[in-house]
Amino acid sequence: MKKLYTLALLCALALAAAVAAVPSTGAANESNASGPTIGAVIEEFKLPDADGKEHTLSSLKGKNGVALIFISVQCPVSNAYNERMEKLAQEYKAKGVNVVGINSNVAETPAAVKEHAAAKGLTFTVLKDPGNKIADRLGAEVTPEAYFLDASNKLIYRGRIDNSRNGDSISSTELRDAIEATLGGKPVQKAEAKAFGCSIKRAS
C-alpha cells in the first residue's frame, strides 16, 4: 500500500515537472506554425502544371473538395508515398475529391516534375509553384504534406498522409480519415498531424 502511495506521489511530482517543463521544451507560448488555421477558407490561386498550363484551385477541385499535397521529385519520404497518393487519387476521384500535387522545390524543374510523375505513375495533376508562393501562403514546410479543403475551400485537415513513412506499420491514416469524415458529414477527429520529412527548398 505504501509502495502505491510512493508511486502516486512520484507520478504527481512527474506531472508537476511536466507541466513546468512544457513552456521550456515545447515552446508552447509561441504562436503556432505559420499558415492558415484549421477552418480558414483558402483563397483562390492559379499555378501552372509541368507543361506550363495554368490551373485555378476551383478548376481542380472536385465537387466535395480537394487534397493538395506538397510533393518532391527527389525526397525519399515523398517518394515513399507515391503509390499511396496515387491510390488515394484514384479512389476519391469517384467520390468527388481530387488529389493535386504541388511541387514548390526551387531546384526541381517543370521538366523534372513531368518526368517524375510519368516514371512513378502519378496520374493526378502536379502543379509547379514558382517562387514557393503557395507553399508560403499555406505554411508548407515539408514534403509530403497534405492540405484537405472541403467543397467551400475550408481547410479541414493539414499534415501527414499517414503515420508510417515506409508503409510497413500504418496505424493511423489521418488524411483519408479527414476525407471520409467530411464525405460522411461528420466532424474530423484529427485536424492536424505531423511527421518528419524533407524540407521544401525555397527560392532565396
Binding site: A14, V77, K194, F196
Partner: protein, 206 residues
C-alpha cells in the same frame, strides 16, 4: 493544447517511473562516456535484425530511441547541469549530410564534459546497423552519441521539441543547463552562429 498537456503528463509519468529505475542503476556505475547515459530503448523490442557485420571493425554504435527515451535525454542533461545540443537528421536528407562535418567541428570546439551533444537519425529502424552507422563512420559522426528515433507517433516526438516545428529536417536545438530551449534552427546550421549561442549558454552558467 489540453491534449498536448495530457500527453506530456502521460509521458512524464511513464518516463519518470522508467527513469527512477534507470537513475539508480546509473548511480552505481561510473559516469558514461561522452555524456550519453540513456539506457538502450527498445532493446527487448523486435528490432529488424541485420546480419552482424564481422568484416568491418568498430562501426559507430547507434542506439534506438522511443519517445520516452527522447524525454530522458533532456532529463539526463538537466541532471548533469549541462546544455544539450540535439541535431535531427537522416541519411536521406541531403542538407543533413552536408552539414554533418560542421557538427563534428562544433563537437570538437567544446569539451564533452561541458556540453552534451547527441545526433538523432530519423532513418528507418531497419537502417540502424547499416546506412546510418556507415554514414557516421564516413564523416566521423561517432564523435557524439548517435541515436535513431523509431517513434510510434512522430508527432509526439516533434511536439516534445517544438510545437511550431513541422518535422522538416535537418533541425537543431540547444537546451540550456535547466532544459530551456535557447536555440532552434531548421535547415543547415550556421556554425558560427551556433558556436556563439553555445558559448553564451556555457558562459551564463558561471
Amino acid at each position: 493544447m489540453r491534449k498536448l498537456l495530457t500527453l506530456v503528463v502521460l509521458f512524464a509519468c511513464a518516463a519518470f517511473v522508467n527513469h527512477a529505475g534507470g537513475v539508480r542503476a546509473r548511480a552505481q556505475n561510473a559516469p558514461p562516456p561522452k555524456g550519453g547515459p540513456v539506457k538502450k530503448e527498445g532493446a527487448q523490442k523486435k528490432v529488424p535484425s541485420a546480419p552482424s557485420p564481422t568484416t568491418q571493425a568498430a562501426k559507430p554504435k547507434v542506439t534506438e530511441l522511443k519517445e520516452a527515451g527522447l524525454k530522458s535525454l533532456f532529463e539526463a542533461s538537466v541532471a548533469r547541469k549541462r546544455p544539450l545540443l540535439i541535431n535531427f537528421w537522416a541519411t536521406w536528407c541531403v542538407p543533413c549530410r552536408a552539414e554533418f562535418p560542421d557538427l563534428v567541428q562544433i563537437r570538437e570546439q567544446f569539451a564533452a564534459d561541458r556540453l552534451d551533444f547527441v545526433t538523432i537519425s530519423l532513418d528507418d529502424a531497419s537502417e540502424i546497423e547499416s546506412s546510418v552507422p556507415d554514414f557516421l563512420k564516413e564523416v566521423r559522426g561517432d564523435a557524439m552519441p548517435a541515436f535513431l528515433l523509431n517513434a510510434d507517433d512522430p508527432e509526439v516526438a516533434i511536439n516534445m521539441l517544438d510545437t511550431t516545428w513541422r518535422g522538416e529536417l535537418p533541425a537543431t536545438f540547444l537546451f540550456d543547463q535547466t532544459g530551456v530551449v535557447v536555440y532552434k534552427h531548421k535547415g543547415r546550421v550556421k556554425p558560427d552562429e551556433l558556436a556563439a549561442v553555445i558559448e553564451k549558454t556555457l558562459g551564463a552558467k558561471e
